[in-house]
């Protein structure tokens, strides 16, 4: 970034080199195709320029040639398509144990909440080598969370969650842009991604924590009286939320949906739309009563009480080891793997 005339953004995530490899492949292939066309045009234009007394030779066409120059580009296109799709699926499939960070976009700033409770504005601190999943929503219009150095971008929509993920590979400070036009200060909706060594990150993390999101969520859960119906036994008027996250849910209208973040969010804001089988439509909507951040906290809480079982159990506890903040009894937050290192 010190150079005043770079032609290439930093490669600072695992995705960057994959995208760049495809980009270079495309540069070579399309460069060759363009050169071929330009060379032919230039050569024909020079070689067959008009000379007095020399007439053009009429050629009707050639099916063999047409098939050739349709089939070969098509095969090349399919190779590009396949490779592009392969990279895309990697970009779009967050690892299951990625650390979760909630992002709320609004005109014209980014509000970031780490699962451990740290809140940032227009900045995101992440450690090198950890998979980080961003769960994003917008308070107003459509924005887009774009980190060129990581080669990732995802539109952030009001009214639903969208997700992107990355694993940073190189410490440094990188641009964060809003890439979807969002109004007057669109170009001011920029920020920094601070990638730190794990130790530095731990130090930063321990600096100013207000407690994990799930703890705030637990408090809101109690304050709003959710716990009177959503009891931790089977006697409640609402479904027991323990262990519900990530599981299929049988709905009243016969459909089955997976209880992901978007489902939890929708059930808080619009409980009637996908009601669990066997329960009455008695839950009021919380649209307008809770802020985007509070919805995030509630979702984090419900996820926490869903994932607590495997942690107490045996199998998955290894990769869900408790993070540095050992006082955190919720302890379910996907943590920084202790052995992570810089690539």
């Amino acid at each position: 970034m010190l150079n005043n005339f770079p032609l290439w953004p930093d490669q600072a995530s695992t995705m960057a080199s994959r995208v760049d490899a495809l980009y270079i492949f495309l540069l070579l292939v399309t460069g060759a195709m363009a050169l071929l066309v330009f060379a032919c045009v230039a050569f024909f234009a020079a070689r067959f320029r008009h000379r007095p007394g020399v007439r053009a030779e009429q050629i009707e066409g050639s099916n063999a040639l047409e098939i050739t120059w349709s089939a070969i580009p098509f095969l090349i296109f399919m190779a590009i398509f396949g490779w592009g799709a392969f990279v895309f699926f990697q970009e779009r499939t967050p690892p299951a144990d990625a650390a979760e960070v909630y992002v709320v976009a609004k005109q014209w700033m980014w509000k970031v909440e780490h699962a451990e409770g740290q809140r940032e504005i227009n900045e995101l601190h992440v450690p090198v080598g950890r998979d980080v999943k961003l769960i994003m929503t917008s308070q107003d219009v459509i924005h887009s969370f774009y980190i060129p150095a990581f080669r990732i971008k995802q539109d952030v929509l009001p009214g639903r969650y969208t997700v992107e993920w990355f694993r940073a590979t190189k410490p440094g400070v990188y641009h964060l842009f809003c890439a979807e036009y969002c109004g007057t200060q669109h170009s001011g909706m920029v920020g920094s991604i601070v990638v730190q060594q794990p130790a530095d990150y731990e130090a930063w993390m321990n600096g100013a924590s207000t407690g994990p999101l799930s703890a705030s969520g637990e408090k809101i859960f109690a304050e709003l009286g959710c716990s009177t119906c959503h009891r931790s036994d089977t006697q409640g008027r609402g479904p027991n939320l323990q262990g519900v996250f990530g599981k299929p849910v049988q709905l009243d209208d016969g459909r089955t949906v997976t209880a992901d973040e978007n489902y939890l969010r929708e059930s808080i804001l619009d409980p009637g739309s996908k009601r669990v089988k066997g329960f009455q439509p008695i839950m009021p909507t919380f649209q307008g009563l809770v802020s985007e951040e509070q919805v995030n906290d509630l979702v984090a809480y419900i996820k926490a009480i869903s994932l607590s079982k495997p942690i107490n159990g045996a199998k998955t506890s290894a990769n869900r080891a408790v993070s540095g903040d050992s006082s955190d009894t919720e302890g379910q937050t996907p943590p920084l793997p202790s052995g992570s290192k810089v690539q």
């Binding site: 363009a34 234009a45 067959f48 120059w69 296109f77 392969f86 459509i142 009001p158």
Partner: protein, 559 residues
């Protein structure tokens, strides 16, 4: 014959015997005879004047945008003003210049002549379509002068429906009306091409310009109504808060994007297909050859029109659609790339063993080939899902679509204007100046837009007013702005010398290029009903072997 009164706009015949010749320009005089005309050639000239006006309005906005981006800080205009500038630049250029450009000017002028008809099937509807265009344009001008719009030409909801306080509804109505003008032009072309062909003018004898316009018309007819209803819904949503696109009321902003791009992606083909038609005519004429693989070029136009309707969601790969629909739309985007590639190969092959002349229209055609090839190939980057995630909504996209829509469509438009200028005006343009202008446009264009590919891959998002956080982007932006000024000169030049040539240019013969096609078999400028005798076609398209065979002498070329 009484002596004709000299008229500043009308070329005066030089030869006494030519003075007898009545043509569509001197048949009647006076503003009224123009405003009430149903002659497709006069309507084409009305369009030519009006779209030139909007081209320079849009170009002026572009120049202001480029000047603002000369420095990283926002120092020339306010942020809101900048947002309005790029919005109005997009709306004016897309809806009031590019979409009507070739179809409404060259198409209007040439479609009936090329198929041997006296006029379009519905001359009064043709005039109505120009008036709709003018009403839409006047509304757009009013909208601009009283505040403008700041949503970007894409009108994305919920920003456009709930968060901006600019004149969305007025701009929407302007585009709605202009859209109907476009629909009526398409309707006229389809019916004319089906029902008005001269005897002997079979489908496989049609010039490829006609095939291209036929394909374009299909898109205009089937795509435009969808944007019309989408605009109605946006306006209703904005006025009444219906909730159709507003997530706060249960609506889906992505539905808007689907409906919008269902038209606006094919709209790109409304711009580029006619340009491909023009280039095909020019390449055939100046290589003195029948076009290589006539049927492949013809059907690739239809294929582009059909596939063009199936790729809209490739604008939405990061918008929140599912990975599987992204997969399908990525695949289909490669499918639509194929017919374009086939066209490029066939044009190249047409040059082989030709007898190539380097007149100005041919220089534009060469420029088109170069720029369109780059534009098309960079489309392959954007269709590749993994790369699109990184470069979408950056300057990479801006550069790509300018290579197609300006490098492709405008090069074709200028090439066509030069090629048919002798037919339109009855005068030859100054060849030297025209070659110079073609060169300046080509150089200026590349200098303006090639750096933007690099900027885009660097990660500079589009629609950024201020990039003081990333000063590393400045050098490329300076190059781009420098190119834009050169490009501006390149676009002004033809206007100057073409106007000059209307009075001072050498009178054109019936067929100055010795070109094939019915439009060259009538006087320049043509009589009001195009042909003194209704033509009967007995030859194949692009019969350059016959044209060059009888007279061995040089092809007359404008000097």
């Amino acid at each position: 014959m009484q002596p004709t009164i000299p008229h500043p706009m009308i070329p005066q015949p030089v030869f006494p015997e030519a003075a007898e010749q009545k043509n569509y320009l001197n048949e009647k005089y006076g503003a009224w005879s123009w405003l009430m005309t149903t002659d497709h050639k006069r309507i084409a000239l009305l369009y030519l004047l009006s779209i030139t006006f909007f081209f320079f309005i849009g170009g002026f906005f572009a120049l202001l945008i480029r000047l603002e981006l000369l420095t990283p800080a926002g120092d020339l205009v306010q942020a809101d003003t900048y947002n309005k500038l790029f919005t109005m630049h997009g709306m004016v250029m897309v809806f009031f210049f590019l979409i009507p450009s070739i179809p409404a000017v060259l198409g209007n002028f040439l479609v009936p002549m090329m198929i041997g008809a006296k006029d379009l099937a519905f001359p009064r509807i043709n005039l109505l379509s120009w008036y709709l265009y003018i009403i839409g344009g006047a509304l757009m001008m009013h909208c601009m002068l009283t505040g403008g719009v700041d949503t970007g030409w894409t009108f994305y909801t919920p920003f456009s429906t709930g968060f901006t306080n600019t004149k969305i509804v007025e701009a929407g109505i302007a585009i709605f009306i202009a859209g109907f003008s476009s629909i009526l032009t398409g309707l006229n072309f389809v019916v004319t091409i089906h029902r008005m062909r001269a005897p002997g003018m079979t489908w496989s004898r049609l010039p490829l310009f006609i095939w291209a316009h036929y394909a374009t018309s299909i898109i205009q007819l089937l795509g435009t109504p969808v944007i019309a209803i989408t605009i109605v819904l946006v306006a209703a949503e904005r006025a009444l808060h219906l909730g159709i696109f507003d997530p706060k009321l249960g609506g889906d902003p992505l539905l808007f994007q689907h409906l919008f791009w269902f038209y606006s992606h094919p709209a790109v083909y409304i711009m580029i297909l006619p340009s491909m038609g023009v280039i095909t005519e020019i390449i055939a004429c100046f290589s003195r050859k029948r076009i290589f693989g006539y049927h492949f070029v013809a059907f690739s136009s239809i294929a582009i029109a059909v596939f063009g309707f199936l790729v809209w969601a490739h604008h939405m790969f990061v918008a929140g659609i599912s990975v599987y629909s992204a997969l399908v739309f990525s695949f289909l985007s490669y499918a639509v790339a194929l017919p374009s590639a086939i066209k490029v190969f066939n044009w190249t092959a047409t040059l082989y063993k030709g007898s190539i002349h380097y007149d100005a229209p041919m220089l534009y055609a060469f420029g088109f080939l170069g720029l369109f090839t780059i534009g098309g190939l960079t489309g392959l980057f954007l269709s590749a899902l993994g790369i699109d995630v990184h470069v979408t909504d950056t300057y990479f996209v801006v550069a790509h679509f300018h290579y197609i829509m300006v490098g492709g469509a405008v090069m074709g438009y200028l090439g066509g204007i030069h090629f048919w200028w002798p037919k339109i005006s009855g005068r030859l343009y100054p060849e030297g100046w025209a070659r110079l202008a073609a060169l300046i446009v080509f150089i200026g264009f590349n200098l303006t837009f090639f750096p933007q590919f690099l900027l885009g891959y660097m990660g500079m998002p589009r629609r950024y007013y201020d990039y003081s956080h990333m000063p590393e982007f400045q050098i490329l932006n300076v190059m781009s702005t420098a190119g834009a000024t050169i490009l501006g000169v390149g676009y002004l030049l033809p206007m100057v010398y073409l106007l000059w040539s209307m009075r001072r240019g050498k009178p054109a013969s019936e067929n100055p290029w010795n070109a094939a096609g019915l439009e060259w078999k009538t006087a320049s400028p043509p009589p009001t009903f195009n042909f003194d005798e209704e033509p009967v076609v007995t030859w194949e398209a692009y019969n350059y072997d016959e044209l060059d065979a009888p007279h061995k002498e040089e092809v007359p070329v404008a000097k």
